[in-house]
Amino acid sequence: MQVDFHAPYKDRVRQALSDPNLRSAVSRATDRMSDARHTSMDSIEGQKLRTQVRQMKEHVLRNWPEYLEQLETNLTSNGCTVHWAEGIEDAQAIVKDIALQNSAKLIVKSKSMATEEIHLNHAMEEAGLRVVETDLGEYIIQLADEPPSHIVAPVIHKRLEEIAEVFQEKLDMPPTREPTKMTSLARARLRQEFFAATMGISGCNFAIAETGTICIVTNEGNGRMVSSMPRVYVAVMGIEKLVPTVEDAYLQLQALCRSATGQNLTVYCSMTSGPRQEGDVDGPEQVHVVLLDNGRSRMFARGYGEALMCIRCGACLNACPVYQEIGGHAYGSTYNGPIGAVITPALAPEIGQFKELPHATSLCGACREVCPVKIDLPRLLLDLRSDLVQQGVSPKSEAWGIKSYASLMSSRRTYESLGKMASIGSNVYAGLSGGNIKFMPPPLNGWTAYRDFAPFAPKSFRHWWRQRKKLRGQT
């Protein structure tokens, strides 16, 4: 069963869990990426690299406005046009205007989470423009009319058979299960689009402030074509995706490639510092950079600035046992996995709009262990839970339950009496149901839906302790 991206959270999770193909597809791919990451980071001084990148990103955040201004100045002097977009509508309008001014009909796009975040394709299509995704994974899910389910591997949730079906249906591909044949077909189709497009849109993996350079990394070369072949090139970047210097760019590039796919370097790293200059043989005539806030400064002000250091490598998704079980669509948000569970509510106008996400984690900490920027994701998730409680978004029954528990546990006497009652009750009940408790009333039925529960011990530890003391004649 496919996950309906727009269904309520509980339904999405149920759909994801009841699809055995989803789990096997996702866990196989994430395991492979995790292993590759591990090998690649181990082959260098991985811990040192993480520390260096962390320090660099902290420095950027401390001097955020200055670096943004420096970037703007340098981009402008390189001949780029810089646009500032506060929210989704602004960003959509800016890109749409650029397209209309240039009479663009066909737009080719390189993979970009920032444009997913602002639902750009949808907006452009509504304006009568044709948008073609050119990253193979994105191309597949665009054909299938689905959102990406992983930050770097958008089609991770699909098996080869399912992709073949999409190609047969949408591209009239003759039946085949051979990846090379399928890839060749996509390549041939995309090549035509690159030649015909007036405008190219990409995201931005990072921008270098001191030189005014937009960097995108890809493995398929589509990013290079998107940024160099069409007459107009637009890069949409989140305002946190900054590095101060070329040396810092090298650091981040290493951390990104190694953490994302385990490559020492991606096949392509395309750097654009401005439009075609006189005498250049190729390159776009116009370069536009859209600096997107869309909640980032709000997130910083809310105390979740640490998550703005994220370089979108996806390593935390690959390491996350929850993500492995449910995949990306169950999160119901552009960004998923542990980082998505943090930044989706933190970027949103109201944290409570995504109240389930901070709870969609066992807080195991596997994400923090692999994060190239050492973002303390479990602590941020705990902070979000606390914010949800502060804002009164958490269920009333839960609040009542936790408050009662805290009061009851504040007295030894109450604690001991409750323990005795639970022991007698649970043992009688377990005795009737054959040794184990197989059903408990709500909210504990969540437990017994999938697991047995052993009754409380007949006598507590403290009882033993007192007995022993008595036997030894102590008081």
Binding site: S362, A366, M409, Y415, L444, D452, F453, K459, R462
Partner: protein
């Protein structure tokens, strides 16, 4: 986390038994107590202790967590500061994480700096059981015997927050007769996660079943771990799935509570991994 170094071998420790061990698995508490005493450490059990407040903290209820944290500090703080005990020992990585990592943080948040400092001091002498046995007492072999094949599951708080992993493995390696085999994907969370097991019970159980599959793949008779919360979850899954393998707390293995052999009985044992045989004494 800065841990105290002891110039002299600690003489007395306060046992933070944890509410789950107290009420659900007293055998684990007894084993902990006896292991410490066998190795020349006197155990004090402050009877005022209840719960450290982790469920409230985990769910986002910081005020309620602080209420119980204050209470905990008022019980254990004076014992340590008066020198009556040298350290606090808990048979749980998770509860030790709560008191030694999160207490300090929640009092910093509420700007109760006295309490935050007190929590910091307490944290420096708070140890998870195996951490205390190996790092502080220098123990490697507890002299335990047990026939069978087992895997070690590193519980998340113990492994990732406290950084304790070698210690329990060392102790298990020296149990006579016990063959320790590798658990595939050992570092994957079992899916317990406190309130997560209730709120997101479907995902939690799926993770638990993945852990059960790994244990079965390893061919082990038992899973040994250092936290009874994860043990309750794993055993609940194993029992429901009809798998005979069970999870056991390390204290019971190290203190010979499980009999002489792990070999699977013909009918699967109940979800409870506790063996109240010590009650005859």
């Amino acid at each position: 986390m800065h841990k105290a170094t002891f110039e002299q071998r600690p003489q007395r420790v306060a046992l933070f038994v944890t509410c789950m061990v107290d009420m659900l698995y007293p055998g684990v508490g007894i084993a902990t107590c006896e292991l410490l005493e066998k190795n020349g450490v006197e155990v004090v059990f402050p009877e005022e202790q209840t719960c450290c407040g982790q469920p409230a903290f985990n769910a986002g209820y910081r005020d309620e967590a602080r209420k119980l944290a204050r209470r905990f500090l008022s019980i254990f703080g004076p014992l340590v500061e008066s020198g009556e005990v040298d350290a606090v020992v808990a048979p749980s990585g998770s509860c030790a994480t709560m008191t030694s990592h999160f207490f300090e943080a929640i009092f910093q948040e509420s700007k109760e700096l006295d309490l935050s400092h007190q929590a910091e001091r307490l944290a420096s002498v708070t140890f998870e059981l195996t951490e205390f046995l190996v790092d502080v007492l220098g123990l490697v072999d507890t002299g335990a015997h047990l026939q069978g094949k087992a895997v070690y599951h590193p519980c998340c708080h113990l492994y990732r927050e406290l950084g304790v992993d070698e210690q329990p493995r060392k102790l298990l390696d020296s149990v006579e007769g016990l063959e320790m085999v590798d658990l595939p994907h050992a570092q994957d969370c079992c899916g317990f996660g406190g309130l997560f097991a209730i709120k997101n019970s479907g995902i939690s159980a799926a993770m638990g079943r993945a852990k059960a599959r790994s244990a079965q793949q390893s061919g082990a008779d038992a899973i040994v771990l250092c936290d009874v919360s994860c043990m309750t979850h794993i055993n609940g899954i194993l029992s429901r799935e009809g798998v005979s393998c069970r999870a056991h707390h390390i204290a019971e293995v190290l203190n010979d509570h499980l009999g002489s052999s792990l070999t699977t009985p013909s009918t699967p044992p109940p979800a409870q991994a506790d063996h109240p045989r010590r009650w005859g004494e």
